[in-house]
Symmetry: C2
Subunit: 295 residues, 2 copies
């Protein structure tokens, strides 16, 4: 039976600015505040600007990536970097306000050509059900399923077992695109509607199964001994997120003028040439397209 | 007679990384170094990484915009911010190596949908001639003519009266796009070829006149009393750089949900939603399309 856990969602928190240079989230919160949206909703909806300092400076983070800072050592420690302190503040905020289960909607954007991507963890069926409902209404939305990888990242979403990450792109960082802003509003509306219907009436009818993309592995950039980049994403791969990458297709062009071809098993690349992932040495991530049951 | 001043160009310097998060320039220099390109060229071609610290940190600048730091007070002063020191170093480098006139090719990228843009100052005919030669070979390239505005900016290009700024877009910052990298290589090749031909043989034949876009004015973002943004570039204006903007067309969408319409004289907008210009409070720049004579 579907949705048997949905009764326990008592609160939805929409989070923006986990990365300070991804502008859609913070301005979504500003607009939501002005408009008083979701007031009187059957499930309480609140908002949180996760990294205000980074947002003010139009940077992804101040000292370290907040979305990698929700690890037990940081949450129980006394480390001084800004994002460590902020992670503890946010964790305290959620534990103090716990009046039932929280569902977290974390708003992101990407420089990669990923359209509307819904990232969910597979620990709770409700997460995938929520994404499936969005996809039912916006068929071009894609679902990225993360399992252990995502928790290794110690992302903000780990604050609660219930949640969804909305990634829209492509957009440069530190730019507010009206079209993607509207897209995000539409997706958030569907998430809130689904959770509210599931709690107050009955979980809306969903398909029996959905196609999802499951993280397989990161592909690093070619670098020299000094750690400097020696190649760039090949123009034949650029912007081809979610399109099958076959063994032997060019993936990099070196500064020497040589093509580097893909030697792995065929798969579906995502986060191709994402700006922030240069830091993490990820040129793109290969996923497998699989079918996930909703029953 | 055309090109009577071209004889004095003795050196070309290709500059990358004036803004550290515009990656095409620094990697162009890296590739040029590996390949030893332009060695033995009849005009000496050298390269300069303008803001190495900002490039290492994937930021536009460390303390202040280097491309606004070439002002007399900074160049003759002792101010400590990194870019002030760097501006003085670069100015010294050029004055010490002066063996004739320098032509400066400054490599940039933009988050705006500006394709290939050649920015030239109108003080020396050679600058516009060079741009016209590029456009003759790449018809989709556009020429932006700057006059007093550009020197008010105290840009790096002010180091010499001779030069061209190559802007390619759209691209996110801190991302290296292969296609725009190749475009930049092609444009630089044409610039070097033109200057070399002009010096060693005869300036190639150019049209009598070219269409250019001349800076008219900056259009600021709507903001509240706290200085916070209250609107975003309207989706009907986004990506429409160089397309005629008429009086009455929507240019902003406020967070309250209201459209703001353009009240100025018709013109051609450029740098629409450029990430770096949020800092300078420029939503876009209006230009006039005019005809410039090359005679």
């Amino acid at each position: 039976m579907k949705g048997d856990k949905t009764q326990i969602i008592e609160k939805i928190t929409i989070i923006g600015g986990t990365h300070g240079n991804e502008y859609i989230g913070p301005y979504f919160l500003a607009k939501a505040g002005l408009a008083g949206i979701y007031q009187g909703n059957a499930i309480e909806v609140s908002t949180l600007l996760a990294n205000p300092e980074a947002f003010l400076r139009a940077r992804r983070f101040i000292d370290q990536d907040l979305n990698r800072s929700f690890s037990p050592p940081i949450l129980t420690g006394t480390q001084d970097p800004y994002e460590c302190r902020r992670a503890r503040e946010i964790a305290r905020h959620f534990s103090q306000n716990e009046t039932g289960q929280h569902f977290i909607v974390d708003l992101h954007s990407t420089t990669a050509n990923m359209g509307i991507t819904l990232i969910v963890r597979d620990n709770e069926p409700l997460n995938l059900h929520t994404a499936a409902y969005v996809q039912k209404n916006i068929p071009e939305a894609r679902i990225l399923l993360s399992d252990i990888d995502h928790s290794q990242h110690h992302s903000l979403n780990n604050i609660s077992p219930f949640g969804i990450v909305i990634e829209v792109g492509p957009t440069p960082n530190a730019v507010l695109r009206h079209d993607l802003f509207e897209t995000t509003e539409k997706v958030v509306d569907l998430v809130v509607k689904f959770l509210t219907l599931s709690k107050t009436r009955e979980e809306p009818r969903l398909p029996d199964e959905v196609a999802v993309f499951r993280f397989r592995e990161k592909v690093p950039y070619p670098r020299n001994e000094q750690g400097e980049l020696t190649a760039m994403i090949h123009k034949d791969l650029q912007d081809r997120d979610y399109r099958l990458l076959k063994t032997g297709q060019p993936i990099f062009m070196t500064l020497q003028g040589d093509e580097i071809r893909y030697s792995g098993e065929p798969g579906y690349p995502v986060f191709i040439n994402e700006a922030a992932y240069y830091l993490e040495d990820t040129a793109f991530i290969i996923t497998d397209k699989v079918t996930a049951s909703l029953n």
